[in-house]
Symmetry: D3
């Protein structure tokens, strides 16, 4: 069923891109409580929160910058021909209000907000926030059982704890998610891992639990298409989450992030991998770790929203 | 009559300042056509347009950046104790959609938009745009007769033409406004004028028409309070427009502008002069020439919205 | 015939690169009217004009920044061994003086200036300016019949109009050029097209008129050499124009531009394609859409002038 | 007794300022456990921590940037003639290791570290960190009874709580300190307060407890010398803490901070007030809220360390 | 005698300011050897050289950036009404070609170049370069006897040597100039001195030789007019040099410099002092220590050229 | 023999990366004279010196910025599994104090410092400094006979002289090193050479002396692995120096450098080539030409230290 025109974005042919209150992809702002909230099918949601960041902060500013950059997005995918905003009712649901000085309180707020989305049948496309954002989101999305996950990142985020026992940081979300039964480790694949290592604690945990890690050397050797073919095989047809840390991409292409690791994919490959997600059963996706204070050129934000557009198309690839 | 709670801004105690879709001062977005449009008393409006700029461009990006910065504004004026959002229904009316490649078309669009505001009884507080913005706004506001004007700027903007006969640029709006009978030159005062001069054409025009120019040397010699006392005398009790070019302020305090002139007021004086407007009959006001591409620190935008908050308080000074 | 020493650039071995009044590639400044104007064979010309820009402005500042960056260019092409400044009399002709507030007047000024070049037998190498610059240049160059064109860009610039009927913007020049008979569409190839699309209006026009579009996916799949071989076949031996929009290159390598599209060629490929132009009958070339306000590092300008050096060598490839 | 040469800083005449491992003011690095730790009299200490920040983050990066900038500091105060490094054994004690994802744990670490300083008879000069830093420091310093405080800031930091009950943020430290008996409110003076207000909750608390607030208008009207004379009277001869939030200074002079308020003192006044502290019984001082990610020019850091040098001289003013 | 129209600058009314090959103040480029060189009366000359810099480098890039910024300068001084380009033949003489890797060679080149100016009767207005630039210039200008000097700076530049005996750095030029008999110390006044000190070596030398130092505290206490009245008395009617180090100004107003000292004059005062030079017998002037790599906003360059325009007017104040 | 725990770096799990006095890779600071200096096996040394720079300056600031960025380095190499800090005693030896205004004096200081390292049996890993740095280092390291060299760069640095006979600049070090017998030209390979050329003087010298040059076109055609295989063959088993100019990498990935040449390797290849050094007999290595003033994002520094970590692992590849 084609989408309702109320949910169509403003065109750059009608209103210049630099004009207007910026919402995600120039979609209508339909926060919870709005009269048409229940009609939304894909909800673009901001989580301006970075309290789990152990190094350079900033992702709390990402949703607003991503909204601004997203006015560059037009209506049609050039390669697939998809017109996603006509295929489903998409809307900007606004931001979850975090508590920047209280991690547990913030996690509860996020899980509660996303619980409402699940109840309303809205699939979320999230603009974080640091990577700890994914954990409270998964708590809402995985309530009927563990999910599979395709995870693009330069880090595994599988560490046990930091600073002598702190369990909730942006380096630990997926360790927690596995422990809490939110992810099925046998259906998890992590792509792009690189950088110097503390030790082997995280990769040992992955090996012990059956998580598949594709290091960057393997990614370049085999190529994006072969890797994504394996990714589709790993997660299969069951419900799957997609988590995209912008530091998956080389920091030259995405400097605005807190823990950059040199030697990663370029911007073309950053988009290309998303097309490998088509056909999957995606229950939600996120774009995390964009940090505007370190993104002087704005290139990171623009790449981030272009990836979000790709993720949106992937979420709709089975119905277009 | 106190304002309706629908028109109250979101508090930074409830939602962190960096969160949420950015509207001017976190007010509700009430564009023309919105169900509650007719209840608005003060309409904060963006005009993202800089086609009249003869030097460095950029003010087309100002409304969006000013919205972002304006989430720093709180509810109460610290000196006067005013709580403007409780004194009148204020709202973000969105942006006028300009045509960046057609000056006459854009001027018509702006005059038409502001004509609707006038009809609805909404007083506009504008975020430009370059200084040509003021001309089409004045065309809408002055339809019942010429207005007085308090004009803060480093330039007179009274030139006849540029580049061999071009009549509409950001250096000519007030020459045109006087010629078109939109301004009563005897009730116009220009404050802060400085910088090297082409010749005396503009000041000769001012002298011939009775426009009062307060150069920066006089401003510093007599002080802001004495100058503003004279400004109130010049415009009197009749309807008055306030036009505030951010390059009135020294470029160190406001680097994000296209034609900076060194040696101007500091940020404290930039606010102080606005308090000298209290008691005037202000039918509209604007903040123009903020240019985000030249505002790496964002300080210009933050100063710009703080001035806008002062102007808002001045517009409501007779009723608080 | 070797060039006259008067036209040789200053060497960085004699005068440090950071010293001296900056002209293009440290060539002599020979504006129209100069005693030796008629001896010039290749004229490097600035067109500081961006009134056709529908999104982020700035290319009006490009000629001056490109002059500054061009002092990094030395005398010899490292791959081909060409010494272009010894092969032809090259000079900096200065800038065309545009009217930033009047599009038709500016187009007339540009066409008139380039008409003089044509009359003097000078082949132009232009530093724009936004992409609308190419239209008035083509009006001067194509007076004896339509030209072929090799066009590097991420956009087709073949749209019909913007904002409800505006015909002259940086998104429409080549639609106009085909309509005006300045280009022979069957001899036009556009390389590097990508990014989300409004709709298919532009590519439909291309298909209907026989313009060849090489999208970025095809570019990467076949490789620069195969694509350029086809380009040479498309334009053949007849007079050909080369138009190079810096947003052809990935915005990470060239952030200083108004409408970036991620996922493009890198800087090596940006140079490599120019070598594929050798042997063509090039009557003029341009480098457009460099926008200094968005080029904090200056990398865009340096890449831009390196491409200009490649274009210069291509223009002289048949005579070196 | 003059200081031991071991504690003298490296001179810029011997080693260029840009060379060497950067310590505060090029002093020796003498962390706890170092053989000469007990000889230190003034300990320059970093607290790289900003978990209490409710708006733009970044002060966690301040100690390192302040160390870098501090190599610009020379040996002698130009106005007073003091040579502080010869008057007392000064050293860089390194940083307190915070836990960026756990506020209570971090506060305990800080209080414990400063408890050791107190025990060793070392007076601390702290480089924060956001303003919550002052609370755990005061817990260590005020163990023998409440202290007086001279507080330079644009905000009172006297709020009760944020986000529905969060007690520990950078907007609440002095409310907590009064409640915990660490400060004697009758001996507290806050200077430079300005900016729009949420409401009057903070100033009501100040009024009810006898805290003296000098708003910026009063500061400019009476002048720095008169205000500082009153400040000395307020705190008297008893032990006093000095807390200096960089946002006391106008954001043009100190853009690198999280919650800027325009219209503040300039850099000359920023130093001048410190000289008004001479003669007080200062048991510790801090420089907080410097945020390097928002300090592109580095000016904020350089002003910050120049203020630290002034504070150091003030701490030694009774003995030089 | 009024100037020849050949020497008039291009007007911003005719050619937009961003257009054209940038020369100082849009004057004609008349290097030594040019046919009209001997007609020049005031020669604006670049010295792109910073080999004497002991801290942050960069002034080698200043002449080019100052040329670019100087296109903002118009024809008439707004306060005095002077039209300097009509009062004397002014021209851009180009740059002295330094040897960045050889200090003595560079000094010889500069002295030789300026010797030619002296011989041709051209008074130089120099755009440095670091402050060592002034020494080889003075060697050329003072060949008939020691000069007086008005010196604006935050440092005395009177040190004996650096790094164990290095005599030629940007901290020593005026010590050398006094020793070499180029300056009459009794006719030298240094204004704006501030910042922490190594020791008293430089001020002891000044005191012993009769050089008058006006520290910043005295400057603010007495005010610019009183200080400049004294300056005129110190140098009297005899030939006088004016040396203006941009770090005289507060680094907030002029961040682009290598050794900033906070707490200096603002931009209005920076211009005001120049007017106090009117009536002096000025044989040459310089603007030094502008460092583009540390001037992200370009404000320093624009202030620098505005001061240069003031200096130019002061050099012509006796003839207008 | 495993390293002594005294020489182990601080872990980011214990102390956040942004905390603490920054030393290279968070190693202990063990300058000459330190009690444990003689135990050091690999000495990370800064040479903050750029007096040989003929174009944009800045590398004098590199060691400090590289120290700051190096706190991102962890303990284990992800590809090889090496744990270098456990394999050898590594330490930060501090900086050689240069004389920024005297090239011969600085060269003597550097050679003398490195002579002490050689005597103590410490292999140096240097953070320059411009490329002239390598010459005085080689003078110390090659005292027993000429060395082989693997040289990554976009320039040959084999020029004879600059500016009419200046022999010591960053464009001449390896010409001098061959002439002085410090390098065996038959065992030298230069990789990545590109950019426009002055003439063929440098490559003629290389050809005449048997130096192998791998231009960038060949590098991309054959691939990093084949090129590095040849490199190993060229230098063989004899003592070899590795010199890594950051401008080897494309300036998009490493903008912070003085003489960028577009069209170079990406960051992945920048690391990959280092692994091709494993097995060589490396007596020392350097990372030069990082220029912080042109590295706004800090990406260049982070890439620089990641390469340094790779070089460190290569230096230890025969013993891990």
């Amino acid at each position: 069923m084609p989408s309702d025109p109320f949910f169509h974005p403003v065109s750059g042919f009608d209103l210049p891109r630099f004009a207007g209150v910026p919402t995600f992809m120039r979609l209508p702002h339909v926060p919870p409580g709005h009269a048409r909230f229940d009609e939304v099918e894909i909800g673009l949601t901001g989580v301006p929160w970075d309290s789990g960041t152990t190094n350079r902060p900033g992702p709390r500013h990402a949703p607003r910058q991503l909204r601004d950059a997203s006015t560059m997005i037009r209506a049609q995918h050039a390669v697939t021909g998809q017109r996603p905003f006509e295929a489903a009712n998409c809307a900007d649901l606004g931001d979850v209000g975090p508590n920047p000085a209280d991690i547990p309180d913030s996690m509860d707020r996020i899980t509660s907000f996303y619980g409402d989305l699940v109840q309303a049948g809205i699939r979320p496309l999230t603009a974080g926030g640091d990577h700890l954002t994914s954990l409270p989101v998964l708590r809402a999305l995985a309530k009927d059982g563990p999910l599979g996950m395709v995870h693009f990142d330069s880090h595994t985020d599988l560490y046990k704890s930091y600073f002598g026992g702190t369990m909730y940081t942006h380096g630990t979300p997926f360790r927690r998610a596995v422990e809490e039964g939110l992810l099925d480790p046998a259906r998890v694949i992590q792509i792009g891992i690189r950088g110097s290592m503390y030790d082997t604690e995280d990769v040992d945990f992955a090996a012990a639990n059956g998580i598949r890690i594709v290091r960057i050397e393997e990614f370049f050797d085999r190529g994006p298409e072969a890797v994504m073919e394996e990714a589709r095989a790993v997660v299969g047809d069951l419900p799957t989450y997609v988590s995209y840390d912008i530091d998956f991409v080389d920091p030259t292409f995405a400097p605005g992030t807190g823990t950059p690791e040199v030697g990663g994919p370029n911007s073309y490959q950053a988009l290309q991998v998303c097309r490998g997600l088509h056909g999957l059963n995606i229950v939600g996706a996120d774009m995390v770790e964009v940090s505007p204070p370190f993104d002087a050129s704005g290139n990171t934000a623009f790449l981030g929203v272009t990836v979000m557009f790709e993720l949106l198309c992937a979420m709709l690839a089975g119905r277009g």
